[in-house]
């Protein structure tokens, strides 16, 4: 929780104090209080939209400040402060405020350092996890594709289970790394004009085996003459792969999963109910399934980290509960939107938009 700070007094020096405090993550400015409406500090505070008041007593109560920095140095002001119940706030002077700023900065750089170490640790660990897993997968693949000779159908059945679980583990490692990058602000996009149909087909290819294994019908529809989108090809392929693998995972045998890519008119990347003037062109990608479906009240939770609807779902369907949170972040970094529509028992449709190139 950041410390809520209220500044008392409106002299010139308050301007730089406000700016300094505003730049600190651990401090939240509650407002500025001065007995003159037109003081330099008041004018500045108003200009930047900071709550201001000349009514010290009322403001102290409503601002719920933890600390009051008295910059006035005026005995009259201090007397007035003395008559007000300030609980639980503490009053400090400008000198002590310098110490407060120093400590907040120290804390901030320590937090940044911990964040950097955490990202580095996850990055190194993920390499160490991937290396043996890559060797395990390659060994399984060499047997599965017949390089090591013939195997029985039961051996093949067990090997497919092994491969499926290696892929699960690989997804988990990738998801943890992505979340760590997103949280530390190190996720970078390499945007270029892309043909979305090519990306969708690339994502579809490995899904065919998964769909066949579950006897699902996997379909694709692409509107003719789709314009290029501006995106990071790897990241968008990752989003489409995630939506397709979720759809396959949550749809029972005999069902259907369909991907559709079309042009759409949208505002802020979100598809409107009725197109209105001023809407921009986007590409819309939708992945529809005939799976278990999702209750409306759970829609927003789906895109939160570890937001899988309940523990039993994790146990039944596997997954980290990170995939959709990563998808949301990646799509919003592209300037698009992602959303879900669903009917319980009938299926779900996850859609996202991407802006066109140029």
């Amino acid at each position: 929780m950041p410390t809520r700070v209220l500044i008392a007094g409106g002299g010139e020096k308050v301007i730089s104090l406000i700016n300094t405090l505003n730049g600190l993550k651990d401090i939240e400015l509650a407002g500025l209080c001065d007995n003159r409406e037109d003081s330099a500090g008041m004018m500045h505070a108003k200009a930047i939209g900071l709550p201001c008041s000349t009514d010290l007593s009322a403001f102290m109560q409503s601002s719920k400040a933890d600390i009051i920095i008295d910059t006035s140095g005026s005995p009259e002001f201090q007397k007035a402060l003395g008559r007000i119940d300030l609980q639980p706030a503490r009053i400090i002077d400008s000198k002590a405020a310098e110490l407060l700023i120093y400590l907040a900065r120290e804390k901030e750089s320590a937090v940044q350092e911990v964040g950097r170490m955490k990202s580095e640790f996850i990055s190194t660990t993920s390499h160490e996890l991937r290396t043996p897993l890559a060797a395990i997968k390659e060994s399984v693949m060499l047997i599965l594709d017949g390089t090591a000779g013939e195997f029985s159908s039961q051996q093949g059945f067990f090997l497919k289970i092994a491969k499926r679980n290696i892929d699960r583990l690989a997804t988990l490692i990738n998801d943890l790394l992505d979340i760590s990058k997103i949280e530390s602000g190190r996720m970078r996009l390499k945007k270029a004009p892309c043909d979305i149909e090519v990306l969708a087909r690339k994502a579809l290819e490995p899904m065919r085996v998964l769909a066949e294994d579950k006897r699902l019908k996997l379909g694709a529809e692409f509107e003719a003459g789709l314009p290029q989108v501006s995106c990071d090809a790897d990241k968008i392929t990752q989003v489409i792969t995630n939506l397709l693998s979720n759809a396959i995972k949550y749809t029972a045998s005999g069902g259907a999963v369909n991907i559709k890519v079309s042009k759409c008119l949208s505002v802020n990347g979100l598809k409107p109910q009725e197109p209105k003037p001023g809407f921009e062109d986007f590409i819309e990608v939708s992945v529809k399934d005939t799976g278990v479906g999702i209750e409306k009240e759970d829609f927003s939770r789906l895109f939160l980290k570890f937001g899988q609807l309940d523990g039993s779902m994790t146990r039944r369907f596997g997954g980290t509960g990170l995939g959709l949170a990563i998808c949301k972040e990646l799509i919003s970094m592209h300037g698009g939107e992602i959303w879900v529509e669903s009917d319980v028992g009938k299926g779900s449709m996850f859609s996202f938009t991407l802006p066109l190139a140029n």
């Binding site: 390499h127 290396t131 997968k137 390659e138 060499l142 390089t147 998964l210 792969t241």
Partner: protein, 128 residues
């Protein structure tokens, strides 16, 4: 005409063995190196047609090895094949002539088919 020679540089013994079997099956003659020094020796001695290079290795990392390779041979195609998470963001990698970046492990995707495609593209001919 002899087989296409692939120099595989990887410090992971198991993976090196597996890849060697895999690429041997595709019709390549695979020469194996476990570190940068051995790789440079083999580059000079064996004159390979293409190099597959791991990124994280003891002593010299993949980028340093690649810089040494480029001092000796500017044209040999090099494919980075690595378990490093940020494969595509090596500093300076864009000026060193990397034909392709292939992750050793990705969920769902078959790393082997990506590698086969990259080898074919870089050599401008099918493996076998």
């Amino acid at each position: 005409m002899g087989k296409t020679k692939v120099l595989l540089i990887d410090d992971e013994y198991d993976f090196q063995e597996l890849m060697s079997i895999r690429m041997g099956g595709w019709g390549y003659d695979v020469i194996k190196a476990s570190d940068g020094k051995e790789a440079i020796d083999l580059l000079l001695k064996e004159n390979p047609d293409i190099i597959i290079l791991d990124y994280i290795m003891p002593d010299m990392d993949g980028l340093e090895v690649l810089k040494k390779i480029r001092e000796l041979n500017k044209n040999i195609p090099v494919i980075m094949f690595t378990a490093h998470p940020d494969t595509k963001s090596f500093e300076g990698s864009d000026t060193l002539g990397i034909a392709a970046f292939i992750p050793k492990l990705s969920a769902y995707e078959d790393a082997q088919s990506s590698l086969k495609t990259a080898l074919n593209l870089a050599l401008k001919k099918p493996a076998c």
